[in-house]
Symmetry: C2
Subunit: 165 residues, 2 copies
DNA sequence: TTGGAGTGTCAACAAAGCTGACGTATTATA
DNA sequence: TATAATACGTCAGCTTTGTTGACACTCCAA
């Protein structure tokens, strides 16, 4: 039915195989968020709070604008989340020393503690998945994920790893 | 710094590596949904419509209850989406012959056509990612994704492949 | 004929995204 | 120094997609 042409001969990709990849991505992402979601639900927080906490942990002292760019949401949307996190004492917003218009964001001790609970849950699942899939699968997993990102996302993803290391 | 113990010697999994996997999953999922989202936005539809269309395509004649289970949302939530799709002539709801309480859902020609546009976009990205990552990465990608699913999700995922083949 | 399953609908609400507009510091620039 | 631009916060209002709860209808089976 399909004859591999010379250019694509390395990979037979039927529509059905691609469709399975799409569905795997969908169901896996639900698993990926399930554990933190359960924790967040008990605290009246949502995924938006988790994302903010995650990236503040990742890049302590980040500015609001920077976080906005990473998350790709509007200022108003992020602000609503940030406001509750600051009010609840999980995030601290300090006026920047170099430019007093900017705010540097940090996790408080309570914020670190929640971040730990959330990322522990997520890491545990990720670790289990890696174990189950085997070491030779992990590199492939990461490669495909990186290739699936938009150019802009890939830039943000990479910049976190350079700046955050 | 780390000494592999006998039990985990196959895989060195630092928290940092796991964290990178988590972020890769987050950014990749955004890429994964970006193309259909753009198409849907021009039609005043959202991801919920896409998911319904996708799984009706996948299992034509599926009942509402079955779809509910796959998607994991409430009846009311799905019904709202289904109602607009039926009103817009993309989905057809036929009373089941065997049990007249049930409705069997099908895509109309227009529905098939939109499904094609959406899954074409998604498959194109998936295919490109597979190519870029290389054939040896694809199997690993799929293995990790499957291992990341919840038990229930994995069941649904598998049942689609048995029933849908 | 009666109970329960499958389905659909109404109402009300919440989370989290969006746009637009405006205010206020603060910094940069002409 | 006056003006423009930047960073941030907030108000108001809208959308999508999820949630509960209540209720009605059809139809199958006991």
């Amino acid at each position: 039915m399909r004859e591999p042409t010379s250019g694509e001969s390395l990979l037979y990709l039927t529509d059905e195989q691609l469709r399975q990849g799409i569905e795997a991505m969908y169901f896996a992402y639900r698993g990926f968020t399930a554990d933190p979601d359960r924790i967040l639900a008990t605290l009246a927080y949502g995924r938006a709070h988790h994302r903010a906490i995650h990236f503040i942990k990742r890049a302590p002292g980040t500015t609001v604008t920077n976080l906005l760019e990473i998350l790709g949401v509007t200022k108003q949307s992020l602000n609503r989340v940030l406001r509750t996190l600051i009010a609840d004492g999980l995030v601290e917003s300090r006026v920047s020393a170099s430019d007093r218009r900017e705010r540097n964001l940090f996790l408080t001790e309570a914020g670190e503690s929640l971040e730990n609970r959330l990322s522990d849950a997520q890491r545990t699942r990720m670790r289990a998945a890696y174990r189950e899939a085997g070491p030779e699968s992990v590199a492939g997993f990461r490669k495909v994920l990186e290739a699936m990102m938009d150019g802009e996302m890939k830039r943000r993803y990479s910049s976190l790893r350079e700046g955050g290391a």
